[in-house]
Symmetry: D2
Subunit: 335 residues, 4 copies
Amino acid sequence: MNLPPTVFNPPFRITRASHVVITARDLAARRQFYGEVIGLILTAQDNDTLYFRAVEEACHHSLVIKKGTRPACAYIGMRVMTEDDLDRAKSFFESESCAAQWAEMPFQSRTLHLTDAAGVPLELCASMPVMPRMITAFTAHKGGCAQRLDHYQIVTPKVREACELYMAAGFRLTEYISPFGTSDLLGVFLQRKGNPHDIVFFNGAGPRPHHFAYLAPETHHLMHACDIAGELGFGAQVERGPGRHGLGHAMYVYFRDPDGHRVELFNTHYQIMDIENEPVGWDPSDPKISYPWGMPAQRSWFEQTTDFIGAPAVELARKPNPMTLETYLARKATE
Amino acid sequence: MNLPPTVFNPPFRITRASHVVITARDLAARRQFYGEVIGLILTAQDNDTLYFRAVEEACHHSLVIKKGTRPACAYIGMRVMTEDDLDRAKSFFESESCAAQWAEMPFQSRTLHLTDAAGVPLELCASMPVMPRMITAFTAHKGGCAQRLDHYQIVTPKVREACELYMAAGFRLTEYISPFGTSDLLGVFLQRKGNPHDIVFFNGAGPRPHHFAYLAPETHHLMHACDIAGELGFGAQVERGPGRHGLGHAMYVYFRDPDGHRVELFNTHYQIMDIENEPVGWDPSDPKISYPWGMPAQRSWFEQTTDFIGAPAVELARKPNPMTLETYLARKATE
Amino acid sequence: MNLPPTVFNPPFRITRASHVVITARDLAARRQFYGEVIGLILTAQDNDTLYFRAVEEACHHSLVIKKGTRPACAYIGMRVMTEDDLDRAKSFFESESCAAQWAEMPFQSRTLHLTDAAGVPLELCASMPVMPRMITAFTAHKGGCAQRLDHYQIVTPKVREACELYMAAGFRLTEYISPFGTSDLLGVFLQRKGNPHDIVFFNGAGPRPHHFAYLAPETHHLMHACDIAGELGFGAQVERGPGRHGLGHAMYVYFRDPDGHRVELFNTHYQIMDIENEPVGWDPSDPKISYPWGMPAQRSWFEQTTDFIGAPAVELARKPNPMTLETYLARKATE
Amino acid sequence: MNLPPTVFNPPFRITRASHVVITARDLAARRQFYGEVIGLILTAQDNDTLYFRAVEEACHHSLVIKKGTRPACAYIGMRVMTEDDLDRAKSFFESESCAAQWAEMPFQSRTLHLTDAAGVPLELCASMPVMPRMITAFTAHKGGCAQRLDHYQIVTPKVREACELYMAAGFRLTEYISPFGTSDLLGVFLQRKGNPHDIVFFNGAGPRPHHFAYLAPETHHLMHACDIAGELGFGAQVERGPGRHGLGHAMYVYFRDPDGHRVELFNTHYQIMDIENEPVGWDPSDPKISYPWGMPAQRSWFEQTTDFIGAPAVELARKPNPMTLETYLARKATE
């Protein structure tokens, strides 16, 4: 398998997936969904924007929701270690032919706006105002009790290009999907913070955001988030799970917020930091990839997403044909 | 709503759902499934039979699996309080025109074989040999860590007849399904032991056993049972869930064993003993009945069951038309 | 061992431990403790009284807190099946030389006030107004998420007398403590509802209420109740645990409310209904009785209690000498 | 407060706490303790040594137990990123007057032996043989289901000296204990991997190992480890907890293995990576430091430890006087 090389001494230091900026049609309604079901803490709000952080986060925000007429994702954010890293990041991305310009964003230090090799709008910064960690403010814990933002998943026809760019920037590849005997990369898990992923790219029409994911503390929090969703009228927003992933091994549940943004709560990731840990490859025909038990995800999970603002999605020449719940049930009916 | 009357001074005392007798084609394979995935303790075995009890049970068995060429259910069992109750039970059922005869069954005191108003083969006894409770034998706990047998669900066209017979025998109706404004009984939850059900009857071609259910201690045990199932090659046996019931409110997961017998693990039932607790009715069109969140059960959950030995199933004049996962997804595709 | 006989056909039917009536000096403060830490639902209140029920309870109250100048327990309550059972109960207790008179209590049907063989003030009734079960009102779940009242523990020099009276009234003895080779009864677990206990009597100066106990759904709820207690300034009220019982096998944590009333949250009890289940005896010198792991309870747990109103405690001729945490640590220091 | 400076561009890269090497008198007995109670996986063994890794670890070992006549700790281990980092580490430590020499250790790449500023014997390496992660080998999960080694705690009179050395080596200080208004450092939490600590130094006679800690997945695993300990005869080895930490906020339980080595299982740590996260200081008189609820640790937890081989402990001029369980109970008795 021809994989891009791991860069152990990267030109600058991204430290972690940091925050996501999305639009919503109804801020009051989204405040309820993310506050009560997902369990985020509202840090700040104004007429046009909600700023949420997760229960253990000391940063100002990991989810920014802006009022908009059409649901979309404006940016996904990464943290760099220092201001110096930010300057070096600009040079690096420009040398990789990625657009990069400075921006002023509220509640963030000097911010760099980028477009990555897949066309994803990225923003990088080194710091945010410090907020109290709510990890022991137990009376404020609600729903899924989201602990911290963990990763994003992006759909794109340019999985290999994205993989190459991010690995050149110091990301490590932990797991990937590739038909055995080929060099096709259909999915890549890339990380900086020492667990399976900060960002994931999957093959499909894009660039499009597939989901963003928060860590939840325990199994029962996944179920509790679903129960709260049901109680508050969001029962149909539980799109997949609770279940168990093949790749990455996490326990998961996926929600669609009422604008269609997909958010995952998951648990039980592993730590991966050591030099000897080579990327683990999976064949897409391995049934354990998508559902070690139970049934596959419904078609909407594979096909429905929002857009990135200003990044028109490109269709794939050969459309992916994953095993969906619909296909699974149709086959079962004929057995 | 015209419901049968509650009998607070019944002619004899059934105390609880007690045990189920099923057949399987491969005892060694079933030993693995019920031992490792469901977490039952093997009490005894011979060439033709496995006797299992659950983790906290001091009775000899709650699940008997007999070698057979065709998967079926031979009996569902109930306990009565004393030998006197058994004699009075015989008189009662005979007066209700139900066949009743004495039988000798291994590891059970004097046993009464009955056929109930729905044609279900029942066996009643007052005692079994005492076995050690394994509730604190933590090293022997496996998979779903099934604590105790709780209830059965039966499919039958004779829901009202069954409800009348069991209520006359002292069962209390806790919840039922009936189209509002009618007297049709489409589902009845009947209990003796003070929680929502020992036996449930649902409308459909029958009599057929739909499932038997063991209580599991905590949310994570449901997920762990699924994970063990996946690891041991039983991943496709997870038929429904984990999820949340509408009626009865329990958290659940359903497995089909490799012979097609359906077993439920569930948690968080309520206690119901007081005279003022009237039966709670649900309208079948209430979407919260079958899935407070997520998606409905796949068609197999509604339609596939095994048989009772010697009790040919009668088709319904008007076949039930529940909201299945297949229908749900088809409708969603056209929205 | 000379145990009182089990009465399988009792003269009347008590069904379960039902409610407790205590006094408190500060109702607003107790509302916070029982609402936020224990997780009870406030059903009703007036200037002098708080009525709480637990999360799954459909009865009006299981905890009544009345304003008083001195913390004490007024009554422990039991439910009977029907009004007829209440009349038969009066006859039974009078024939046992126990004072019995009718009383009118708010939110209870006709109530019988009794003094049992240990001097405990008891109240029996057949019904209460029905309230909604909050079992799926997940947004209202707090702290330990107490599900239902389960049992009381009483300290008395008259353990055998109490055991005889309650067994004559149809209670079954599930576990007991007795020095092997003697007929001394130092502790008895008595039940009507089919789990290890509705009422427990332990040897000591009394009659005094030791604790009342609510079932909690899962392990994490016990820890969460402690965490909430710590956050709200009740950290010192966690008197014992979380830990594991020897007798009864439950996982537990004990709180003292700020008036000194002791309340237990516990989980994982077993069901016990069958005629063949003989009482299980324990020798008090068995170290597994009080702490299968960790350390014994502090002295206050053994010695400090509130009083029953109007029931002066009688000292024991020979004071119990249990292994306390203080003794355990002193012995360990000299090893 | 006068704290050592954070070094964001350290001379070499330690990535994480990696492994600990201890001695035991009875390897077969320790195999049971660490395998069944803590839940480690045995990677390899020979006549003199056991090599364990935790459930999700892909490295060869995180716990090495060598047969010895006296229980002691031989080394605590850290990982560096690359072989280059190892060379730079040697130069760094030598420039800091710390002894450093190369060593050959089984199942580790080139290893550097160091003595740190507190006299602690350290070993650094860049890689180990890769083993299968057992994170989804659910049938192999036991007891506390230890996921991965997380940190060490060391007792030493040289807290400040250790803090200065480790911060110069790139460790970040996350939390510390210092009497407000002084510059005394009584406890420091130092980390490289982005959570509260890889190594902790507390004031006391030393250098001595206080404990090593494994992450456990959920609350119930802490309780299950205790229950298994009780069942297997290790009940007295549960020295403290389950409970909740003040500093670091984790849920914990501490075991002493039968040789006296102390091992912690804990859960719910936070992530800390951002430049704006200043060290958080605590005053030692704050009662929330050691027990947000319940009671303080018994004296043995503060005072009993094993030794480092070849590193004689130096007594403190002024012995620490923490609030112990013994003192707490004595004070309570006089109230």
